[in-house]
Point group: C2
Chain length 595, copies 2
């Protein structure tokens, strides 16, 4: 679980591998071939054996595509990777600004009338639909993956076996989940749902896996029948240790049998066209099985954490807060002693390991000092590693996977004393976070409606941040989880009790500093308003770790904001203090004193 | 333009008229017939000759439907009219809670397999599409209007002629508007647009009319061709005085020729299915002319007021503010002297007439004292008229039509001294209005994203209001205008410079009191933020009339809120003061003193 600080795909083999791929294209009668970063599970992380884009092009970002034509090859990367891609890919590739230029735009411009191959396991139904809906007679043809044919030293798939997530953490038996989802399928008039998202399967069957780093979701596909029975398709041996746990209503079948199983289904079958691989739609169409396109039926119930899951999340956050507070005390003592961004990552991870409960970190820690803090998705490497400079800020965004819950926390810290400008901006960011934390709102409001609360103080002064205010978070699952968020771009699904979200406004001044403050919160009913007939919702906080008081400009705060922060800090001291040694507890007392 | 205080359709003829309608149904071989409140123009107000629903049933609300079957008859009314309908309709009608029960729901329950007639001029395309998409084999059949056949003393259509809105107020010639909209039609690949909304036609051709009260929109239909030429279909004589103004590229044609003209169009023709009468779709389909469903092309450009229109709106508001301030001074002197809600309406209207510029009021004034203030859409009648009681609040929501602009303002006033509860609630409502007024936000934000700013202080205490925070407002046109609004239910169209909106949070305690504070504002670019690359938008205020300081609890306000209110009041005094006589100016000085 230790974070790596090198890019593993930095070897330079671009021209040879590209030439080999073009040979394959010619053999197959194709004018081009698309290589997405995604694997068939559409997650944020892929296993080494699925990292085709990095192997082929050298580009190691977490999203993107390559399209190879006979005479040119584009690598499509988003705003985070515009500099990185130029360092990683060789001259034989042309970086393309995606999604400003879409794959379809580029194909229309560069491949009119041509035949472009793609691997139907790797692209969701809607992605292929969009590409096929082009105005330049580009033909999209499903073929066997051409990269796999030339990748002779391809790593083996992850071997780790699936394991059970017991009901003491899940709070509901898998049988109960299957039963209620099957009822939904029958109500919708569908006979079965094809489920291809690993965290959906993890939630539905109360299982976990270790197939990719940081997210304990199992690489598998499933078909849930309207009877409540379920077929789980997994590579051989992966499910050996969960057979009893799964029970007799779940059939474990070889992954190779998945396509054949689709052909046996009766119409109509529910698929989620935003995540379901195109191969599924093609198999069902070939067998004349009708599809019903809707949302993966696990996604919303998974987002609504039950009481057991919320209790687990709270326990995980309380445990994580002890590690964070130990880290913060260490940081305060050492930040001006020549430590580096990597020292910060390693030390923080060490405190989390000391909990003896850490399963994994929940994502690569962001540790960005000075100007590196302004790079929103910064990941420190040996090349970029920066020694912390007095007067700078550092953004530390990190999280942990424990069996009872997933954490995600950002604190921005001052190295020595901070300047007035940094304090001003930090305080306005913090006020936004507090405004969301304090928000109450009626049923029907979605996260997009609350986003302005987090930004209002920045907007008032001509500032903003180019990311959402919050994302959903799983319970010992993905640190980024749909469908809800606090964002103008999130799905417009009303907030409901049990949804766990991040609350993380920020501010980034290019070349100078970055600021982000992040707590996790969950939606809960709020009692006791003036009008009893209004059922208002609000947020409860999961994360209890002090804010950087050196960066708070109290003069900017309202009475209510001061009261909220003081009450928050009092609760931090109450929760965490008893678990610290005396010197650290002394540090915490000072950090949590009323403003 | 004087407001009426009686319901003109209160005669009791329900059973006879219903029996006559049923006879017509039988003659036509129908099992039922739908009578909407709407006319073919889908506006909020209908001419007397089009008020079929009120003539037939007695129900005089501003929205609703009746469906007549052989053995029952339902009158569909929304939450505003649940009490009123029971007083107005006789036993032969059954009130139905609409839209909780939709017309389709009710037809599926009560008219399975039956043939229901409707007048294809009165229902938008999408409404009929929804009704036809029923699960009970209800057949919807377009027929001549059966009410018209039995309504022997039906009033004549409005005779007032259309008149020009000169470029000095419109800010852009009609020729220029036609040219740029025609370019949009060509870009969309359409040959023509059918325009059936009167305010769209008013804007496009820079004309106005007097066909309904309060909204100066002409009753006419138009076809805009992709050449920029336009056909205007109007009843005989209506356009006599604007022939020169319209010019040679606008053909004035008899209304009776509209259907025949549709048959001559080439595919595809743009229609707005949310407002275009079903008769248009049927005519085009009959002639095998393809339709392209999109938004009426005038709606968005009309919402983006140009500099001349904004200057006119400002002049109209400054003029209206003088009338309002004179009214407020009168109110302060007389409110505890036994005046009534109707006295308030008449006096305010008198001050507006004194401007010598009043064309009409922009809607029936809402003047609701005590518990009447809690009825959001209250309209005072002789029956409900209430003498103002000391200690009560009164909500006064009113507006004017001037040739240079339309106004809409709400002030909540204290009659004598107000209680602490009322002051608390008023102040929280006012804070919401101030928060929206002060908001800055980036391009891309829509009104739904800002709605929470207006409600946050109420939500925090378990309060809310059951209406939008703001609606679009026309320039000497409809006081309610699409497509934008400050509401979670408004169209999700990004706010853009030139959009004029109301900003009117409220609070209503049933049986006790109501509160609403409303200014008009418009979207404008904001200069001078910290990050110059961020193009932020904000609001500028049109309405400058003092708030009720007796209702402001200063202890609840932040420093910034106090500063905003003080600066606002200073501007009121500056703008309005010089236009008042000495005693009234003295009153205004006190009303506008710093808090």
């Amino acid at each position: 679980m230790f974070q790596q600080f090198t890019n593993t795909h930095s070897g330079k083999h671009g021209p040879e591998r590209l030439a080999a791929l073009r040979e394959q294209m010619q053999t197959e009668g194709l004018d081009g071939f698309i290589v997405p970063r995604s694997d068939m599970f559409q997650g944020e992380t892929v296993a080494d054996c699925d990292d085709r884009l990095a192997w082929l092009t050298g580009f190691s970002g977490s999203a993107g595509y390559a399209i190879i034509l006979a005479d040119q090859a584009g690598v499509f990367v988003d705003g985070r990777y515009r500099l990185q891609v130029r360092e990683q890919v060789e001259d034989c590739y042309t970086p393309i600004d995606w999604p400003e230029v879409t794959l379809r735009d580029w194909l229309e411009q560069n491949a009119a009338g041509k035949i472009i191959g793609f691997d139907a396991w790797l692209h969701p139904v809607n992605e292929i639909k969009t590409l096929r809906d082009n105005k330049a007679d580009v033909e999209l043809r499903a073929v066997d993956n051409l990269v796999d044919k030339i990748w002779t030293d391809r790593p083996a798939p992850p071997a780790a076996k699936f394991f059970a997530q017991p009901e003491e953490f899940a709070g509901e038996s898998a049988a109960s989940k299957r039963t209620r989802l099957a009822e939904g399928l029958r109500e919708a008039g569908t006979t079965a749902a094809v489920i291809t998202l690993p965290d959906s399967i993890a939630w539905l069957l109360n299982i976990r896996g270790e197939d990719v780093s940081h997210t304990p979701a199992p690489h598998a596909f499933a078909i849930l029948h309207d009877t409540g029975r379920c077929d789980l398709f997994a590579r051989e041996g992966k499910a050996d240790e969960i057979m009893d746990h799964l029970g007799e209503d779940v059939a474990v079948l070889p992954f190779e049998g998945f396509e054949a199983a689709l052909l046996q289904l009766s119409s109509p079958v529910l698929i989620d066209a935003n995540s379901c691989p195109q191969i599924v739609a093609e198999a069902l169409a070939g067998a004349e099985v009708e599809t019903f396109e809707g949302r993966d039926p696990c996604v919303l119930p998974k987002a609504l954490k039950n009481a057991t899951e919320l209790a687990g999340m709270q326990a995980a956050h309380d445990r994580d807060a002890i590690a964070m507070c130990r880290f913060l005390a260490w940081f305060e003592a050492n930040s001006t002693s020549g430590i580096t961004e990597i020292d910060v990552v390693k030390t923080l991870e060490g405190f989390r390991r000391d909990t003896n409960a850490l399963r994994d970190i929940s994502f690569d820690t962001i540790s960005g000092a000075g100007p590196n803090g302004a790079v929103i998705h910064y990941r420190v490497t040996e090349e970029t590693n920066r020694t912390l400079g007095t007067g700078e800020l550092i953004v530390v965004d990190s999280g942990a996977q424990y069996q009872d819950g997933t954490t995600d926390i950002t604190r921005t810290l001052a190295i020595g004393e901070a300047g007035a400008d940094e304090r001003h901006c930090y305080t306005q960011v913090l006020r936004g976070m507090v405004a969301v934390s304090r928000a109450r709102f009626p049923v029907g409001v979605n996260g997009g409606h609350l986003d302005a609360l987090a930004r209002q103080f920045l907007w008032a002064e001509g500032m903003d941040y180019d990311h959402g205010t919050g994302h959903g978070v799983g319970a010992y699952l993905g640190v980024h989880e749909g469908p809800c968020g606090i964002s103008r771009r999130a799905a417009q699904i009303p907030l409901q009790p049990g949804m766990v979200l991040s609350n993380e406004p920020g501010y980034y001044r290019n070349g100078a500093f970055g600021i982000r403050v992040e707590n996790l919160i969950f939606v809960a009913n709020v009692e006791g308003g003036i009008d009893a007939h209004r059922n208002l919702l609000g947020f409860e906080t999961l994360t209890y770790v002090p804010f950087e008081r050196k960066l708070i400009d109290k003069a900017l705060l309202s009475k209510e904001e001061v009261a909220w922060i003081d009450a928050y800090h009092a609760k931090v001291l109450d929760k965490v203090g008893p678990h610290l040694d005396l010197p650290t507890r002394g540090w915490l007392s000072a950090a949590c004193a009323p403003l």
